[in-house]
Symmetry: C2
Subunit: 209 residues, 2 copies
DNA sequence: CCACGAGTCAAACGTTCGTTTCAATCGAAC
DNA sequence: GTTCGATTGAAACGAACGTTTGACTCGTGG
């Protein structure tokens, strides 16, 4: 691990390039060049470009999903009835925490999320695994308990809204030229703004039919 | 206009295919095939694939921007101090109205918006023109008046949140297989949910520093 | 000392891409 | 009836793509 092996270097390079230029906009040659590896290394270690994307997506989303799950565990251990604000913090927080702003890796991570989430390439679709689904279901139940009277469909809509804000927000930030990038404190600020924004949104009374 | 000319047929085909498969995932050949035109027609009428995308983006965003602008005009004509709810309705409403759900064109439009908004292709960047910027500035001022005490930066963050929810929401809907697509009443429902969600979010008190 | 398997390498494969070329076509103006 | 500009047609261009191949390197176990 001191010296990253070729497989890890490929994952790093692919993560960065997929985040910057999308799946289709990134060539295998660009990945292997950045990784300092041979062109055939992708085929050897991952089988194909699409499987490399899947591996990258797994590596990026796993810690976020784990943090969301652990956050809900900690919350429920403290109280059986978490507030909406607490749930939003636990659910949306990790979506921003993967991003130590100031470091490029943060914006890269979020950029990758939205890229994968919205990439029209067939290979990028249905990237969520059973883990993501399970965590989503748990939060869905917790939010339903904290928001009685809200129809399941509308609740689903609102949880998608959380993902939308968390993911898309950083796109334009990332696209800005380097000097305009957010500093570390600005990144923290954005996180707090998002929590405020989303807590209020989630707490809204049900829409009258 | 009864018989659409080649140029219009190319715009229609490109809009649909860009929305479904993204800029890079759509070949010029696929566009001309769907339009029933010759391969060289894109080069002749638009110069290049990138300029065709710009023309499509312009055609899609223009009516939305116009509706947002007219909505703000109507609002300000009625009262000098619109509420946050009224502003959200006027700003976010047109983002959903371009989408007569049940018809495919709606989902296509929103899909195209998020595709263009988040497409990592350089050609798809900086697609906003002076019109979009001007409307955004006017709403920014109106929201600032309705939300005194909110820092400009946080207000900008929240307005990006509106775009995020309006655009991303429909991505997963569109990706679902046909039978699961929303019906017309479901589309109306989503619009109302979004207004509720976003009005509450925009009305949140400023984040404490 | 040798044999073996994992990993790397340069090279080439066939395909698809955006664009360009130039001849053919067509309707309207003269 | 002919000329002319606008448009369309078939074909080809070079470049870039993902993938595959087969030889080579090298540390390790027999």
């Amino acid at each position: 691990m001191a010296l990253p092996d070729t497989r890890t270097k490929l994952l790093d390079a692919a993560e960065r390039l997929f985040a910057e230029h999308g799946y289709r906009g990134t060539s295998v040659r660009a990945i292997t060049d950045l990784a300092g590896a041979n062109l055939a290394a992708v085929g050897y270690h991952f089988g194909s470009k699409a499987e490399l994307l899947a591996a990258v997506a797994r590596r990026v989303t796993e810690p976020i999903t784990a943090a969301q799950s652990a956050g809900l565990d900690a919350l429920l251990a403290r109280t059986p009835d978490p507030t909406v604000a607490e749930l939003v913090e636990a659910f949306a927080g990790p979506l921003f925490d993967g991003m130590p702003a100031g470091d490029e890796s943060g914006a890269r991570t979020s950029r990758l999320i939205v890229t994968i989430l919205s990439d029209p390439a067939e290979e990028a679709r249905s990237w969520t695994g059973p883990d993501e689904d399970a965590v989503g279901e748990r939060y869905l139940a917790a939010f339903a308990q904290a928001l009685p009277g809200l129809a399941r469909q509308e609740l689903l809509f609102r949880m998608r809204g959380i993902l939308a804000v968390a993911a898309v927000d950083r796109v334009e930030v990332y696209n800005q030229p380097s000097p305009a990038r957010p500093t570390a404190t600005e990144g923290e600020e954005a996180r707090n703004w998002a929590i405020t924004f989303l807590t209020a949104a989630m707490s809204a009374p049900p829409t009258r039919a």
